[in-house]
């Protein structure tokens, strides 16, 4: 007989680690955001007892999120950038994943290897590569001048929204393709053959069989890359560095690395986390409902 404490004792160190270094730190953000500030050094003074929490910082931060105020534009911009980047990633990633899963034959191993390479090249190395290409005398500007598209070097790195969005797409699309590929690869060929046998054209087979079967995969992969994009500040810093393109992540980073107002920064972290938690629960709700429907239709 295995003793009752035998298996729990294996989980204990890891579980304790997560409580001490994930759960308690999360609470510390709340204690700082709802805490007070040292009047002399303007350091944050955390308030650990929830009964003593102060809400004026959160109230003023939320006030700044109203249309027309400081944080409003940053939030709108972040949502716009993430939405456009996500659409771009799907536009590139879905066809690639589809081709890999359905049509690549002899080249499949090579393509899969090429697909994984970006995972082993550091994210910032990949950004460094683009900065080199986009410099005023970089290859992109020289090629465009050579072709006569532009006469003067274009300032790609001087706070252009388009550069930031392209960099986000470049950075995150590999993380979208791999899970999408896994989902598309799992679709049984005979399901598609059934569609064709019943008289559907290739396009209508795609629209009525493949696409619905990969819907959950699309959603999961999108959530998977949208979550880190919302907290991204380094892509923006590296490619633009201008407040004209700053996102929520840049705003938070500013309060922690630059300014003394960590209480405000902590409030912004909480608002971001709540938003992402809502996004996650929507995703979970959709998937749970979808799997319930599949079970119903099978019964």
């Amino acid at each position: 007989m295995v003793r009752r404490w035998f298996w729990p004792s294996f989980a204990l160190p890891g579980a304790a680690w997560l409580v001490l270094l994930f759960l308690v730190p999360t609470y510390a953000v709340l204690a700082v955001a709802f805490g007070t500030t040292d009047p002399i050094f303007s350091n944050p003074v955390p308030v650990w007892n929830p009964l003593d929490w102060q809400f004026q910082t959160m109230r003023s931060v939320l006030g700044e999120m109203r249309p027309g105020h400081t944080f409003w534009i940053v939030y709108v911009r972040t949502f716009a950038y993430v939405a456009i980047s996500l659409a771009g990633c799907l536009a590139i990633g879905y066809p690639v994943a589809y081709y890999l899963a359905r049509h690549a034959r002899r080249s499949k191993a090579l393509l899969l290897l090429l697909l994984i390479v970006p995972f082993w090249v550091s994210y910032l190395m990949r950004m460094l590569a683009w900065v080199g290409l986009l410099l005023p005398d970089g290859l992109v500007n020289r090629a465009l001048q050579e072709l006569g598209v532009i006469s003067q070097p274009y300032g790609w790195l001087d706070g252009q929204a388009s550069s930031v969005i392209l960099a986000l797409i470049y950075g995150y699309v590999p993380y979208l393709i791999l899970p999408l590929y896994a989902v598309l690869d799992r679709i049984e060929p005979h399901v598609l053959e059934a569609g064709r046998d019943l008289g559907a054209s290739p396009i209508s087979t795609f629209l009525h069989v493949t696409l619905p079967l990969s819907k959950n995969g699309i959603l999961a992969a999108s959530v998977l890359i949208a979550l880190p994009m919302f907290g991204d500040y380094y892509t923006n810093d590296v490619i633009s560095g201008s407040p004209r393109t700053s996102m929520i992540g840049n705003q938070i980073n500013l309060f922690f690395q630059g300014g003394p107002q960590r209480t405000v920064g902590a409030s912004l972290v909480i608002i971001l986390s709540v938003m992402l938690a809502l996004l996650m629960s929507y995703y979970l709700w959709v998937t749970v409902r979808a799997s319930a429907q599949t079970e119903d239709s099978l019964l």
Partner: protein, 292 residues
């Protein structure tokens, strides 16, 4: 030749357009990195205009090359050191957690299972901020190497749990039960049966944790103290906008080569270790599924 002619006759016939998109994407994803690597061999100070081949930025230059600039060497050493500690701590913790959570049916397992998922979906910035605040305000842990290791292990554990647990579920409880029926103690069954069966997953965990640690920027940067605890990604971040030399490209290249070499070596070792066990899942596949 026939294929080329077919292509010209009907470039939009399935799946040629898809093939073109796929190969264009592959080129687009790899070529910029290759160009950045090439410029690390530039003879001049420019990162964008080619001035001839040299190894100046690797060790030729007496003060600015990767080999001779103490801050660059330091960054490389710090990156590898953190990766080593992260692997040594996160993998055992994660394996233990995976074993415990799969076999333990008590009512404490559910909340831990739930908690374990959070580091996977929390943006790094949120994690970095909370760790910074708790270290400074509550635990009084000085920023620097210790803090960086604690932070990296925290986000690495969950990946190990996922890898090991999926393997545990595919193994099932029967081998272990057979060992127990034949008189092995719980520890004996674990050591003689379960751990050998888990070794591919444990091996894959080491590689994934290595890659996570080497690539990490946000948490490592928030918990760094000064120049001496900067890693390669931090060095790239702080140098990329300035008037830096191709030495930065060289530093990044060294890291990429080291990572690819480690992965290739690991893959070969894995293949060699599994040569007598047919029907195992490929490590590459396991890692690929997990990196996402």
């Amino acid at each position: 030749m026939k294929r080329v002619r077919d292509w010209f006759a009907n470039p939009w016939g399935q799946p040629r357009a898809l093939a073109v998109i796929t190969w264009t994407y592959m080129a687009w994803s790899i070529v910029p990195v290759v160009i950045a690597v090439l410029f690390s061999f530039n003879d001049g100070r420019s990162r964008s205009v080619w001035q001839g081949f040299s190894l100046r930025w690797y060790w030729g230059d007496p003060s600015l090359s990767v080999f001779h600039d103490p801050s660059m060497r330091g960054a490389l050493e710090q990156s590898l050191k953190l990766a080593g500690f992260d692997m040594l701590i996160a993998v055992p913790l994660g394996v233990g957690l995976a074993l415990g959570l799969t076999r333990w049916k008590g009512y404490g397992a559910r909340p831990v299972n739930f908690l374990m998922l959070f580091p996977l979906v929390t943006p790094e910035l949120v994690m970095a901020v909370s760790l910074l605040l708790v270290f400074v305000l509550l635990y009084k842990i000085p920023l620097g190497t210790e803090a960086q290791v604690l932070g990296q292990v925290t986000f690495s554990i969950s990946y190990v749990v996922i890898i090991v647990r999926s393997r545990l579920l595919s193994i099932g409880p029967s081998y272990e039960e057979a060992a127990r029926d034949l008189g092995a103690s719980p520890v004996g069954a674990l050591r003689l049966v379960l751990l050998p069966l888990l070794s591919p997953a444990i091996f894959a965990s080491f590689i994934v944790v290595f890659a996570l640690s080497i690539d990490d920027f946000v948490v490592t940067d928030y918990l760094s103290s000064n120049e001496s605890t900067q890693t390669v990604p931090i060095k790239i971040y702080s140098g990329v906008r300035g008037t830096t030399t191709p030495a930065l490209n060289a530093l990044a290249t060294v890291m990429v080569v080291a990572t690819l070499a480690a992965v290739a070596l690991a893959f070969l070792v894995y293949r060699w270790a599994l040569r007598s066990q047919p029907g195992q899942q490929g490590a590459l596949k396991e890692i690929a599924a997990l990196e996402a």
